[in-house]
């Protein structure tokens, strides 16, 4: 039982994550100036559902906070508080705290201190977000950006009140308008025809009707015209539509709220005044009812909705008129939630299918292999595999979503102002990749703010805008994803990086380094140029972690920097972690997979081309260059190492990030094929030098080589020595 509850709770937290993402993108849009009703309603709905779920699961603090946040959003949505930049900023801060509350409910974070933000929210409710006061609550919650206020604006609320020469009370004014209509309330007429599938979708129509009745509504008519003869009646279909009359003093929003969770394709219409539907059976009772009720003249048109169109009108038109509550006409993307382990299982099974297919092909005679059925089967299998892979693909937005929040925190901490530009956030990447780029991305963003973007004074002095820009982009090229973090800061100070690297003993004092090599030093372990260790970065682990994380994913980090213009970090990642193009090689009879992405060329050594340099080291001469050679049989201790002479072996030249070009000596090459990657740590633990395992056509296992780990010298000081100064 408690397991069930945990499951449901897990779904709730998933929905929270989605709701938070929606709210954040909405708030960001508002901050960027898009304050359309649709955007605001989106944010409201997101916070509203978080509150609802939190209440159901007894997360008291989360419920309380989201309730007060929702109050403000509700006022903004109703147009009683203008979504000025100041109000939006408070709401962004409130959003951050809301995320913390969600995390606290999940038990991953302590309960945040929300007093300041709640005070700021309440302040908005009190002063109605009056333009003069708007900026004030922001100062309570977010201090740093205010320091840069060019006008030296002192935001103190009490003073504003005394300064106000008119004693202007915006809330009261706003209410006056409403009061006019309340004085002679025109009753609402609400028509609600649930879609046929409402019950199947969990949208019990009676609950909505009862909710309307709670507001004082009365059912004046029921439309039975869709009711089929008894023998055609599907007990789980909803056939009946209702027309209700509600007192005129009910707020429009309250009615709209009732339809928050209405099933798609239902018809919802509400308007002040008389609705005379063209359908005769309904019309008669309505008229009777209206006669009994004193009807005010349809004068206050400013508030009144246009009379509802007849039910036959196009759903799209209705959706435009009532964008928030009516989801009927909008195209509804049909989605279902699937447990990720089921997708993984499916992927595994498809992998098995591919393997069985190749086993089958191996066993058939060459003549049978050419028959049309087999290629068709492989093509189908391949299509299934691609589809399953695409099921796991998610927009990279998920990884990007935490960046805005981080930037807000960072700009408070550092006093630097940063604008975020995001490009290509719909690029789809395997879920496994998305989960694993979060940390590297965090480090890169922190680095960009801390080391890249200059302080406002220095930016002004350099003739740049006060606000720095960080451009976060993702694009797919072939089977790779490029994730870039570009800042418009000062660029890498190469002289200082070099000096620091020499000081730390990472490179020799007389080393000759190209600009690119100096840039790469940033990623060396223990390297940090920050003069003081800040809270944000500067512990000298950041870029090192980025690099090792990205390499663990089979990717690489590229750095490009222009002094005075900025720095760009690029993560080049594989599209998927599940399939790899590989070369099957043999070492002492055992088969291994060498990732093809690393392979440059294959060399059959001539006598004397491979020469020993030290007792264990060897080099291969290749077009005048000498490249180190490693005998993999020796590395893995597989055989009495020198079973084969270099001339009997093959040397595969591979490229690695850390050690440049290196030759790997293998016995033979068997094949080249796509393999399904199975992780070793699922049942064991990662093994250095191996990137995983795969199952070959005959059902046996081949280990996948991790080139970076194999060729990178194990000593950390030499590991990151750029190629060219190995001597």
């Amino acid at each position: 039982m408690s397991d069930d509850l945990d499951d449901i709770q897990a779904i709730f937290f998933e929905e929270c994550a989605e709701g938070l993402a929606t709210a954040e993108s909405g708030l960001s849009a508002m901050a960027a100036g898009d304050v359309s009703a649709k955007v605001i309603a989106g944010v409201f709905r997101a916070v509203h559902s978080i509150k609802g779920g939190a209440g159901a699961f007894g997360h008291v603090a989360l419920t309380a906070f989201s309730h007060r946040f929702e109050n403000v959003l509700d006022e903004v949505r109703a147009g009683r508080i203008a979504p000025t930049p100041g109000v939006t900023r408070v709401m962004l801060t409130a959003f951050d705290i809301l995320s913390d509350h969600v995390a606290a409910s999940q038990g991953t974070k302590p309960v945040p201190a929300d007093d300041a933000v709640l005070a700021a929210l309440d302040q908005i409710l009190v002063d109605g977000g009056a333009p003069d006061i708007v900026a004030e609550p922001m100062a309570v919650a977010v201090v740093a950006p205010m320091d840069d206020d060019p006008f030296g604006f002192e935001p103190v609320v009490a003073e504003v009140e005394s300064f106000d020469p008119f004693g202007f009370e915006p809330v009261t004014v706003a209410l006056d308008l409403l009061d006019d209509s309340v004085a002679e309330p025109v009753p609402w007429t609400v028509t609600f025809v649930p879609s046929n599938a409402a019950l199947a979708n969990g949208g019990e129509p009676m609950l909505i009707v009862r909710e309307l009745e709670m507001l004082g509504g009365t059912v004046v008519a029921a439309d039975l015209s869709r009711l089929p003869p008894l023998r055609d009646l599907e007990p789980e279909h909803a056939y009946i539509g209702w027309t209700l009359s509600l007192p005129g003093d009910v707020e429009e929003q309250a009615i709209a709220d009732c339809f928050d969770f209405v099933a798609p394709n239902s018809i919802v219409e509400y308007a002040r005044g008389v609705v005379v539907p063209e359908d005769a059976p309904v019309a008669a009772p309505v008229v009777e009812m209206l006669v009994a009720t004193p009807i005010a003249p349809p004068a206050p048109l400013a508030v009144a909705r246009p009379t509802a169109p007849p039910p036959a009108s196009s759903p799209a038109a209705r959706a435009e008129e009532h964008p928030e509550p009516v989801r009927a006409g909008e195209p509804v993307a049909q989605t279902i939630r699937v447990d990720l382990t089921k997708l993984d299982m499916l992927l595994n099974l498809v992998g098995e299918l591919v393997i069985r297919g190749s086993i089958l092909a191996d066993r058939l005679s060459p003549k049978d292999q050419e028959r049309v059925e087999l290629p068709q089967l492989s093509r189908l299998t391949r299509e299934i595999q691609d589809t399953v892979m695409s099921l796991r693909a998610q927009p990279i937005r998920q990884a990007f979503s935490r960046v805005p929040r981080m930037l807000r925190d960072l700009s408070v901490e550092t006093g630097k102002q940063v604008i975020l530009e995001t490009i290509g956030e719909t690029t789809e990447v395997d879920k496994g990749v998305i989960e694993k780029i979060g940390d590297p991305l965090t480090h890169m963003i922190r680095n960009a703010v801390d080391h890249g973007i200059e302080s406002p004074e220095r930016r002004l002095a350099a003739g740049k805008p006060v606000q720095g820009t960080i451009r976060l982009s993702a694009e797919q090229k072939g089977a790779r994803i490029f994730v870039r973090v570009a800042d418009d800061g000062a660029g890498i100070d190469r002289a200082r990086v070099r000096a620091k690297a020499i000081e730390k003993g990472i490179v020799a004092a007389d080393a000759v380094l190209t600009d690119e090599e100096i840039d790469q030093l940033i990623c060396a372990p223990g390297f940090s140029t920050a003069e003081t260790i800040s809270n944000i970065s500067g512990r000298g682990v950041g870029m090192d972690v980025v690099r090792s994380n990205v390499e663990a994913l089979g990717g690489r980090v590229e750095i490009s920097s222009v002094p005075g213009k900025g720095t760009t970090f690029t993560m080049v990642l594989p599209l998927t972690l599940a399939i790899l193009e590989g070369m099957i090689v043999r070492l002492a009879g055992q088969r291994f997979v060498l990732p093809l992405a690393n392979v440059i060329e294959t060399v059959q050594p001539e006598p004397g081309q491979v020469r020993p340099t030290t007792t264990t080291g060897e080099v291969i001469e290749l077009r005048g260059d000498y490249l180190p050679v490693r005998r993999l049989t020796r590395t893995f201790g597989l055989a009495d190492n020198d079973a084969l002479t270099p001339e009997e072996s093959l040397v595969i030249i591979v490229e690695s990030e850390t050690a440049g070009h290196v030759g790997l000596m293998v016995d033979t090459i068997d094949d080249r094929r796509e393999v399904v990657i199975k992780s070793l740590d699922q049942n064991l633990h990662p093994i250095r030098g191996l990137g995983g395992a795969t199952i070959l056509g005959d059902g046996s296992i081949a280990l996948i080589l991790d080139i970076e780990a194999l060729v990178g010298p194990s000593a950390p000081l030499t590991r990151y020595t750029p190629k060219g100064l190995a001597a």
Binding site: L349, H685, P686, I687, L690
Partner: protein, 164 residues
Amino acid sequence: MSSIDNSDERKIVTFSLGQQIFGIDMSALIEIREWDEPTPLPGVPSYIKGVTNLRGTVVPVVGLAERLGWAPSVVHARSCILVVNVDGKQAGFLVDEVADIVLIKDSDIRPAPDVEIGEASVIAGLVKTTSRTIEAAHGSTDGIMVLLLDLDALGLTRQLDMAA
């Protein structure tokens, strides 16, 4: 640990390693497989014989005798791999021969004395069974002592993390 309704009774799988009879809780057993030479792994302790393909999953195969600090088992016709679930991870144990499945009472389990077999803590307890199959195989008529293995203590990851 056991999911059997009667909480005092549980089923164990007994198997032999050399002259010794061991038992593991039936609920941890996934399947029993014939010995098939696993793919060796580099850079792991010698008791890890390699990895094998268990219906599409890569599962490590452990020489249980070596894991317990004894001489390695010699693989023969009746050698088996017991595939078990330890703490959510799957592992195959190479054993000399699977003996029987017997029902034991929790109250019959005696605490393990400090026996010198590598780590005493891997023995969860001792229990005497009267399984005829085992008795016949060992030429005994008054019950055979079975060493109950504590799979969690044998847990591969903990050991291997240290080795890695």
